[in-house]
Amino acid sequence: MSAINESVTNMIEPKSTDERVRKLSPWRILLDRPELGSIAGTVLVFAFFGVFAGGSGMFALDGIINWAQVAGYLGIIAVGACLLMIAGEFDLSMGSMIGFAGVMVAIPPMYLGWPLWAAVIFAFVGSMALGALNGYLVVRTKLPSFIVTLAFMFILRGLTLVLSTSFANSTIVSGIGDKFTDDPVISALFQGTTFHWLFNGLASMNLITKLPSGDPVVGGLPKVLVWWIVMALAAGFVLARTRFGNWIYTVGGDSNAAKNVGVPVRRVKISLFVLTAFCACLFGVLQVADVGSAAADRGLQKEFEAIIAVVIGGTLLTGGFGSVIGACFGALIFGVVQIGISYTNIDSDWYRVFLGGMLLLAVLFNHYIRSRAAATK
């Protein structure tokens, strides 16, 4: 017996320990990280606007808040889309869910006499239930999530329009802003800015620009940015450190393998569809609180922007590989480009051309990285 064991060892591993293991340079190790492309892209984009819009106020505090807010909104849904895409599925209904969540928040208090807090809870529960339905249909029918959520993209967009026109006689449900201001808890969670003490303090120390009145030019950190950071940290942590995170990778890498090793594939996928719906609803509620109204066209095409941010962030369309940090950088690139272009002399019509180009570059780059990461000897 021991002789055979010995010979197994010898046959498989004839030489000393490490002769088949190459040491990789730090550069190569970096190249294997999914977020590399998006970080490089971010540096490029910042360099570009540094040159073309450096003196325009884009990188002054109010300018920064401007594009960071755009990035923050997109970042929130990109975080959800990222985890779902790593698990190998898409949610094309996210953009429509943003609009639908908006009317779920706005209509009950304005037309049905609900308190705002009840409507906000209703919107979150309703969205997450719809997300669960999306997920259930996908795992039950084994149809591509692309087609199932495409159906919901239209259903929800249509419902949003129907509801807003039938209640408000308009595609916009307005007047909800005051209700937010009147509810201290909901307002504290979703409306306006925070960390005022920090900004006031920095202003009194002359570290940030002051208005003639002596108040800082930016009163505080928009809550959307706080939510983005919280969501990104939580999702990044779950993905990298927890059991559920490992399940997400396994399900996306090979759902059959995942099933065979005992990972509850359906549960993982459904919970991630619930997560994307939650993120879309969060986006919707923050936007309604910010703008003071809900509208039927809110969140239009946001599902694609989220997917683009995620792909720029290095997540594979086929699943199994990706990074939340990358998706956040992808969202950041979006915000910088979308807002930054108006600070330059470049016609803002070029915005989409630029984004499409970024997407194509990112996909090509990811394809290259993936073929290397999975390369056999």
Binding site: V8, I12, R241, Y249, G253, N260, V263
Partner: protein, 262 residues
């Protein structure tokens, strides 16, 4: 007598709509034996092992583990009873690290700050490395992706994983099918190692040359039916080959060609 057998399928049939995938198959696996399941394509091997692994439930007949009647609703339940299946695709995700693959679905956990349950990656890395070393595969860095390993190494990883998680019965689905001569030989030795540890093995193959040296007994499947179980001492390699190749069909073909149609 039940004590002699760790797994028993008794008169098991499995139907998919109008298709009869298995018809009255009886298979008994003795403790600590290597039992070879032979059959040509479409013989029902896959259905049979998926039934054993808890993927399918038998349409009729009984399935006993340790003499106790069971009905598994998922592979997880079979795993919990110590029945581990290593499929041809090995259930490995190439883009994930060796350690993450090793523990996929059964991640070791610790409490971060005493409250948040996280994967104990140090333990996972060390254990994966040690268990592979026992199989003769030296992995210096268990955080490298499985995609960088060779086919034989992946096979070892899948088997090492099954054994680590307390497999009492190891079901290997054509483990040598995609391997070269030398690597096939290694896998046969791994099966031998597993048997030496007291693990019962069901080894599925259609390659008699791989099956005969290592197996203690053989069950032959043909078109969804069992052609019987034979102990190694009762049957020669040639006889197994003959049954595998559908000896009677060949004979009638020969008869027909020679103008002696029945």
């Amino acid at each position: 007598m039940a004590d002699d057998y760790i797994l028993e399928l008794d008169d098991v049939s499995k139907f998919f709509g109008t298709v009869i995938a298995l018809q009255g198959v009886t298979l008994r696996l003795k403790r600590g034996e290597v039992h070879c399941l032979l059959g040509d394509n479409g013989a029902g091997k896959s259905t049979l092992i998926k039934t054993l692994a808890g993927v399918h439930q038998p349409s009729s007949g009984s399935y006993r583990v340790d003499g106790e009647e069971v009905r598994f609703n998922s592979p997880r339940e079979a795993l919990d009873r110590g029945i581990a299946t290593v499929y041809q695709d090995l259930a490995l995700v190439p883009l994930m690290s060796v350690a993450r693959n090793f523990f996929a679905g059964r991640e070791p956990r610790k409490k971060l700050f005493g409250v948040i349950p996280v994967i104990d990656m140090n333990y996972a890395n060390e254990t994966a490395r040690d268990k592979l070393a026992e199989m003769g595969i030296r992995v210096r860095d268990a955080s490298q992706p499985v995609g960088t390993m060779s086919g034989g190494e992946r096979q070892c990883l899948a088997i090492a994983r099954a054994i680590h998680f307390g497999a009492k019965v190891l079901i290997l689905d054509e483990p040598t099918a995609a391997l070269g001569v030398k690597q096939s030989c290694n896998v046969l030795k791994l099966i031998h190692q597993a048997r030496a540890r007291g693990i019962s093995v069901i080894f599925i193959t259609h390659n008699v040359h791989h099956a005969y040296p290592i197996a203690d007994s053989f069950t032959l499947l043909n078109r969804g039916q069992s052609m019987g179980t034979f102990a190694k001492k009762d049957i020669t390699k040639e006889a197994v080959l003959d049954m595998m190749a559908g000896g009677t069909e060949i004979q009638s073909l020969v008869d027909e060609l020679e103008g002696r149609a029945a």
